[in-house]
């Protein structure tokens, strides 16, 4: 005698009506073997449901809270309009500043370097915006590293706002250094996200 397959037993258990369901039901009604199999299936599922709940090994709320705060901070700092506008406004103010009166020979190079750093920073920021890390699942380690970098960038942006009020040439030198640091941090941030993405094959 051909007994019911597991598919058929599951269909019967779930009360689904597949083609051949009536024949399977008729077989079940007169086959002690299949009745026993169905009973075992019921018992197994009952045991699955009765398995003890697995408890989280540690309290992760501090991590979740920290990431929520960081996410909120990120939204304000450079999510969408806010952050990019801040970076852009800093860049605009710098570009519109009058040229320094001292060290005229060094000025064109310094200005070119500054503009190059600002451009690179903007390109990296655009790359990150396109990658949209907020919409992706990130592991805890990556999120932590990214959040630290974002904090440093945010702090650096505040420094940039202050330094633009400092008169040249001290202000210009500091400005260039800060923008170069910003490029370094942005580069690291992009790398953190992209490296992680390539590691998991996304």
């Amino acid at each position: 005698m051909t007994h019911l397959t597991m598919d058929q037993l599951l269909e019967l258990r779930d009360g689904l009506t597949e083609p051949g369901g009536a024949a399977a039901g008729a077989h079940l009604a007169q086959c002690p073997h299949c009745q026993a199999e169905l009973e075992r299936l019921h018992q197994r599922v009952a045991q699955l449901k009765a398995l003890p709940s697995l408890k989280p090994p540690r309290d992760r709320w501090p991590v979740v809270r920290s990431r929520l705060v960081k996410a909120r901070h990120r939204r304000f700092a450079w999510g969408g309009v806010g952050g990019l506008a801040l970076a852009a406004s800093i860049a605009l103010v710098i570009l519109l500043r009058p040229a320094p009166l001292t060290s005229p020979a060094a000025a064109p190079d310094a200005q070119a370097e500054l503009e190059a750093a600002m451009l690179e920073s903007r390109l990296l920021e655009q790359a990150l915006t396109q990658y949209a890390p907020d919409r992706r699942v990130t592991d805890g380690y990556t999120a932590r590293v990214a959040a630290e970098l974002e904090d440093r960038i945010s702090a650096l942006d505040q420094e940039l706002q202050v330094i633009q009020m400092t008169p040249a040439p001290e202000g210009d030198r500091a400005l260039l250094q800060l923008w170069q640091q910003r490029v370094g941090l942005m580069d690291a941030l992009v790398n953190v996200h992209l490296t992680r993405a390539s590691n998991v094959g996304l």
């Binding site: 007994h3 397959t5 597991m6 598919d7 037993l9 599951l10 073997h33 026993a36 199999e37 075992r40 299936l41 197994r44 599922v45 045991q47 699955l48 449901k49 398995l51 709940s53 697995l54 408890k55 989280p56 090994p57 540690r58 992760r60 709320w61 991590v63 979740v64 809270r65 990431r67 929520l68 996410a71 909120r72 699942v137 592991d139 805890g140 998991v200 094959g201 996304l202």
Partner: protein, 184 residues
């Protein structure tokens, strides 16, 4: 619709008020949600994912998503059902990301335990753990959490038939590993 849970099995006192506050970004309310659902979310994640670390990451991602999306919760269904769907989806996403391989040999090559009746068997916990990832996820989501095959297929980006066949294969294995085959 899932078959299970018309009523929330993990009731939260003042749920409506907590949700309303969470929608406004109140951190204490989000913590209340976390405290109420941390254990069941972890359980779903751990039953689907293979490692504690993955389950912890999934739990974390789930609550971040809950905080982000609580405005979308309309309140016309079970709060746990809504959170559980996020947890299940994140867990399946984690499986896909990890790309655990459905290596038949690996999973078939298990060490059964000798039980009191002298037969070599695995216990259910160990057998479940050793199922291939997708099969284990289907068993858990269908037989324990009450999702339909159509829902599981949709969550996995597969067909309803795929979910059904995974469940049948999983039960065949469990039956064999647990020594539950009925003598012919």
């Amino acid at each position: 619709m899932t078959r299970a849970l018309a009523l929330d099995p993990f009731p939260l006192a003042d749920a409506e008020q907590v949700v309303s506050r969470a929608r406004r970004g109140d951190q204490a309310a989000i913590e209340a949600l976390y405290r109420a659902f941390e254990a069941p979310v972890y359980n779903v994640a751990r039953r689907i994912c293979r490692s504690v670390e993955d389950a912890e990451d999934v739990s974390q991602e789930t609550f971040l998503e809950v905080a982000r999306s609580i405005r979308k919760f309309r309140g016309d269904g079970s709060l746990w059902g809504w959170i559980r769907a996020i947890a299940a989806s994140k867990s399946l996403m984690r499986l896909r990301r990890n790309r655990y391989r459905e290596t038949e040999e690996l999973h078939e090559n298990v060490t059964p335990r000798r039980h009191e009746d002298g037969l070599l068997r695995m216990d259910l916990e160990a057998a479940l753990e050793r199922l291939p990832d997708v099969s284990r996820a289907v068993v858990w989501l269908h037989d324990v959490e009450g999702y339909t095959h159509a829902e599981i297929g949709e969550m996995m980006g597969k067909t309803t038939s795929f979910s059904k066949s995974q469940l049948a294969r999983a039960h065949e294995r469990l039956r064999r590993w647990l020594g539950e085959e009925v003598a012919v």
